[in-house]
Subunit: 458 residues, 2 copies
Amino acid sequence: MVEVTTPGRRIHLNAFDMTCVAHQSPGLWRHPRDQSHRYKDIDYWTDLAVLLERGRFDALFIADVLGVYDVYQDSALPSIVGADQIPVNDPLMQISAMAAVTRHLGFAITVSSTYEKPYAFARKMSTLDHLSKGRVGWNIVTSYLESAARNLGLDHQVPHDRRYDLADEFLEVCYKLWEYSWDDDAVVRDQAGGVFTRPDGIRPIEHKGTYFEVPGYHLCEPSPQRTPLLFQAGASAPGRAFAAKHAEAIFITGTRPEVLRPKVADIRRRLEDNNRDPRSVKILPLITVITAATDEEAQAKHRDFLHYASYDGALALYGGWSGLDLSGYDPSQPLAYVETEAVRSAVEAFTTADPDRTWTPREIANWVTVGGMGPVLVGGPRKIADELELWADEADVDGFNLAYAITPGTFEDLVEYVVPELQRRRRVRTEYDGATLRENLLGQPRLRDDHPGARYRR
Amino acid sequence: MVEVTTPGRRIHLNAFDMTCVAHQSPGLWRHPRDQSHRYKDIDYWTDLAVLLERGRFDALFIADVLGVYDVYQDSALPSIVGADQIPVNDPLMQISAMAAVTRHLGFAITVSSTYEKPYAFARKMSTLDHLSKGRVGWNIVTSYLESAARNLGLDHQVPHDRRYDLADEFLEVCYKLWEYSWDDDAVVRDQAGGVFTRPDGIRPIEHKGTYFEVPGYHLCEPSPQRTPLLFQAGASAPGRAFAAKHAEAIFITGTRPEVLRPKVADIRRRLEDNNRDPRSVKILPLITVITAATDEEAQAKHRDFLHYASYDGALALYGGWSGLDLSGYDPSQPLAYVETEAVRSAVEAFTTADPDRTWTPREIANWVTVGGMGPVLVGGPRKIADELELWADEADVDGFNLAYAITPGTFEDLVEYVVPELQRRRRVRTEYDGATLRENLLGQPRLRDDHPGARYRR
């Protein structure tokens, strides 16, 4: 049998989770099959990692916030009662347990450059890269919640632009520690000669900048990837500029393929402006897939999920993301006609997609309650595979960042129904290509030569 | 058969390791059986955890430094070449992998209160306490290396007394987050009623102090132990005062039982002064055991180890601990006669034990090179068990903090030869008593009522 059709580009799969209850599906922890309350148990994470590796996912992406959502109703209580990303545990602690039961799956961990010291942070990531044998990624965020800033010793958030300025220097310090301080062959472990590390293979970074002063050596010997794979998701202008400079994979959000397409083109253009290969960065939009053996069963599953949706929960999350409290508006009031600029911008994400349509708080809540700001695809294996191929090709993206409606149910369904169909179409891998996350996602072991971190190499 | 003798008090076993090469045995990474260079591999840690649980150890204690030893020869190079605690990885990252393969072993992790933010740190420990189901301890340190301070954004170290002042307020914030912010029954997960967390079961801590301002809620729901088991090892006057207030287990060092005895009495007296039960805190001296099937084999093993000892490595570590560079002295020069106060205090730990004996740099190095500042016991199972019983009874301590000469060899020998002998004597447990670290080491699930952290409970 000869395969005659040329398959489209590889579709990379990334699972989106968070060390909390009902991550992007406010209220759905009330669904009898949802297990997200087990976010604090090791076996929730190890079982999930094994499942995702079976489905040949590139990575599990773990989101994080270091605060509570307290914009909606000007209070944290709606979020607390509804468990909307609170309680929320630390995202780094379960990684080694998952790495121990898998061999290929990557782990993209969210850590804010606003609240860490680069010298100590670089050691954490190098340690995880060693323990996982090169399967760690860092989703670089600069933090958006005021409530986090207040509890971490800052009166107010660092202003948005200055946060990216600081993040830029933070990365510079990290590159020096990860790429410059130790040579590949610095550790010789010469037992007879009594030399563990060659003194000429290691050097202090002598960094003295605006925000950080780090004179010393990196504390860790070189890890398999050195710099962890760099993910970024910023949608603002400075966020996009930062991503075009540093990111190796970018998470984006859009309600329809034709909304994504210009965003993707903009990213690839910015990469070129930075003298980087515009195809070298993987772009992965947020999407939620509800699937089953047939289209009808998938539709029924979707309807069932919506019974558990939380209006308050959706607007609590939306309040944190947008900074806007929609509690003062009638649920059925068309917001496009509310004459304040703030509310206009709050619905901009939606109106960009449908300029002629008005959105009400109820419609926004209905949208957000399954899969956050991303769209929901509902259908059997072939319909979903068709749609994902269409999205990938129309929007020119490299794969998807897949949120759950319920966990691990949504991921189990993907692995059972959708992955085999995409593998038959030769869009999803049947075996992993390499040993490390960067080898699997980007086809190379280290930062590319056109990446700014590469110039710190000796 | 009736047991007629009354056994002595329980001896608790604690293993002492660090995420680095040759932790307390500078140079012994050159021994062919030493595996400490595998400090960066998950299976080194998971194998060790399984071994220690088989030996009914209470906990694995992981030390840490966030800098390099650069006092000796006024340079970091001797440490770097000899791998004297450099490279050194983060101590928290391997915990969940070990927790996944054990059910009882505790993990005492070293984290400095000088370089963390309590709001984020409290979340890390709660997360690990959840993942391990209540088996996490925190070894509270305030950091002694200048080189760490310089790389973490401080021009010089925070002065010693102020560090303990800051640590004291750091603990206060943590107690409020761990003990006060959430009630035991705050999380109800009422699916029908849509209430995950009862709003009246949770409260912001509203902390406003000298060093920290933390207005908000703890981000984590209550973990099994809430406050992790608190370890401390400070030997200075403010360190001892801090331990007498906060510690539930204390690591100490002394060269002989009669040197330890007054130190232990002093700790128990200080506990009474703090209105705490002087027997409620477990005191564990540092000791290294070299054992084999017979006394002769153990002696041969010890002689073999000494071939791999590093003079420079020992004095590099000693330089970091004492702040003193002994590189300017002849190795055989008796230091007690050097007329500088600094050098006097450097050998004080030794001269306290033997006031009439002089110590040379060579003798100090020989002492330090196996087991750091602690003593080394050499012998077959019965001789070691006799000595450990003698130490426990003479010095009035509750167990031992056992360092390795080579790893995991030293721990394997302990589990094979010494633990069964101590179990026969009913000094070491044959089964674990409880589910959590605090239940196993202290016989209770939460902080005692006489502990200062308990008063933050509602």
